[in-house]
């Protein structure tokens, strides 16, 4: 049997309401089935008492009037009117548990004729079968470990080759009395140094990075959208991309477009003032 397709509209609506993915999928599949049945003209929904009686008669004709292998069949087939009143149902439960005196006791007494316990009465329509989605998994060894090992070797090789051909920067002895022009922070702080041109040092050096880091950490708690699909989180992705581009622009400006006195220069005119 082909797998039931997911009804995308239902799935999207449920996901946006915060319904877990697994349940949204199951409900979306049920929606597809309902649609198909409606198209075929099959009646769906709860059955009337008449219909239930008719269905019971059909059931007896097909499977015999008494006995039956399953709890479901027994419970329904023995019912005189097709439906049990709550009192009848309670009496049946008591009887099957061997409780004739009405006092609850657990388990089946030794003198009971029953060889089984009734655990539940199941409606003939059955219960919804929702099983956890099987995950597609592979063994860590060899699949993951091989990928990791290759990545590690590649990175190690790149690092070794770069280190062989390019020497780390080493300048003359530190001299507190001789300020180089320009004096630059390491590259990852050059965005902040660039901000120093526009803001008070307290804002550029403390407030912006502090608030930025706290906001970054709090992102996980502020983003309430349960979906991880890119199409469902355009705003989050756009914001992140915007801030990362902004930050990259500041780092590039501070790194390559600032020269003596940290004034603006064009690297292709005035040369590079950048050291790693």
């Amino acid at each position: 049997m082909a797998e039931v397709q997911i009804d995308q509209a239902t799935y999207d609506a449920l996901t946006s309401q915060g319904v877990p993915d697994r349940i949204a999928r199951a409900k979306a599949k049920a929606a597809t089935v309902r649609k198909e049945k409606q198209e075929q003209g099959v009646e769906i929904g709860p059955k009337s008492a008449d219909q239930a009686t008719k269905a019971l008669a059909e059931f007896r004709e097909n499977f015999g009037g008494s006995g039956g292998g399953t709890a479901t069949a027994t419970a329904v087939a023995d019912a005189p009117s097709g439906r049990l009143t709550p009192e009848e149902r309670a009496a049946r439960v008591r009887a099957s548990l061997g409780q004739t005196n009405g006092s609850p006791s657990i388990g089946v007494p030794a003198d009971s004729k029953h060889t089984h316990r009734l655990l539940a009465l199941v409606p003939p329509s059955g219960i919804q079968q929702v099983s956890d989605k099987q995950q597609d998994k592979v063994y860590t060894w060899p699949h993951l470990l091989l990928v990791e090992f290759v990545a590690l070797l590649a990175m190690g090789a790149v690092l070794l080759v770069v280190s062989y051909f390019i020497d780390a920067t080493f300048r003359e002895l530190a001299n507190p009395n001789l300020t180089p022009n320009p004096s630059k922070a390491p590259w990852y702080f050059l965005g902040l140094q660039e901000l120093l041109r526009y803001f008070h040092p307290m804002v550029a050096g403390v407030t912006i990075p502090g608030v930025g880091l706290i906001a970054l950490g709090a992102t996980a708690y502020m983003d309430k959208n349960p979906s991880a699909k890119p199409e469902n989180r355009k705003f989050a992705n756009m914001s992140m991309t915007f801030f990362m581009c902004l930050w990259t622009v500041f780092v590039f400006a501070g790194s390559f477009f600032r020269g003596p006195g940290f004034n603006w220069v064009w690297p292709w005119v005035d040369g590079l003032f950048f050291e790693l």
């Binding site: 998994k137 470990l145 690092l159 403390v206 991880a228």
Partner: protein, 255 residues
């Protein structure tokens, strides 16, 4: 000439003794041998110290290179490379400066000129450090775009942000150690900004510099921060980070 033992005899004699059995746990592929069966694939992961990092099975989509680009793993790999090269450099480096005793700078020159592989190891340490800042940053971007910080992984995202900060601190504290013009002036620019922290900015700066300006005390402090304190804190957060990945259900997704 006495008869040489066969390969299987050597193997049996090596493996069938108390010492070998004490090293490799029962069920280890080094005791029972390895055949390419599901059972042995599972045992290879289970009877391995890597079991602390990886479960026996992982989601298939996580293997795709374009899902993770191995960025987290490579960041950790660079951290290990930096630890190893850093220990090598420590053998030849004295964090001492000051008029007449410019030992730090002299040792740097010595490492590059006289120590076997000194220049190469120093280069690896420096380029590896820059690279690690870069891979950690890219790892963060990757996790964000996959929405991998969403429940139940919110706290691990916070640990990740802390690790990003620690990576920057590791790199920045190491930046001073060569004690050349580039080092002290880059650090001067960086620490001047810290001095503008409200209320206790000057005190923070004073503690970090070990004085009002950068000097020999600063070098010793930043050396200790760089080789002991920050790596120690980083390892703790790394342990929590890795542990939470597994507890939160492994790799995120599929999307």
């Amino acid at each position: 000439m006495p008869k040489l033992p066969s390969w299987s005899e050597i193997q049996k004699n090596t493996q069938d003794n108390v010492i070998w059995k004490s090293i490799f746990r029962p069920g280890s592929i080094y005791r029972k041998g390895y055949r390419d069966t599901s059972r042995d694939r599972a045992l290879a992961a289970m009877n391995n110290v890597l079991y602390h990092l990886h479960p026996v099975k992982v989601k298939r989509h996580g293997l795709k290179l374009t899902y993770t680009y191995c960025l987290g793993g490579l960041s950790f790999f660079l951290f290990v490379v930096l630890t190893i090269t850093g220990i090598f450099l420590m053998f030849f480096y004295t964090p001492a400066a000051g008029a007449g005793t410019e030992l730090a700078y002299a040792d740097m020159r010595n490492i590059q000129a006289s120590v076997t592989f000194g220049q190469l190891v120093r280069n690896m340490h420096r380029w590896g450090a820059h690279l690690m800042v870069f891979t950690v940053f890219l790892h963060m971007a990757r996790v964000f775009y996959h929405g991998a910080y969403k429940p139940p992984r919110e706290f691990n995202w916070v640990v990740g942000v802390i690790l990003l900060t620690l990576t920057l601190l590791l790199s920045f504290t190491g930046y001073l150690l060569p004690w050349d013009q580039l080092a002290i002036w880059a650090v001067t620019v960086g620490t001047e900004m810290m001095g503008f922290t409200p209320v206790f900015g000057k005190q923070v700066q004073f503690v970090l510099l070990g004085g009002a300006v950068i000097g020999p005390n600063t070098l010793l402090r930043w050396y200790v921060l760089h080789v002991l304190f920050v790596p120690f804190v980083t390892v703790i957060f790394l342990a929590v980070h890795f542990w939470r990945i597994r507890k939160d259900g492994g790799i995120s997704g599929p999307l």
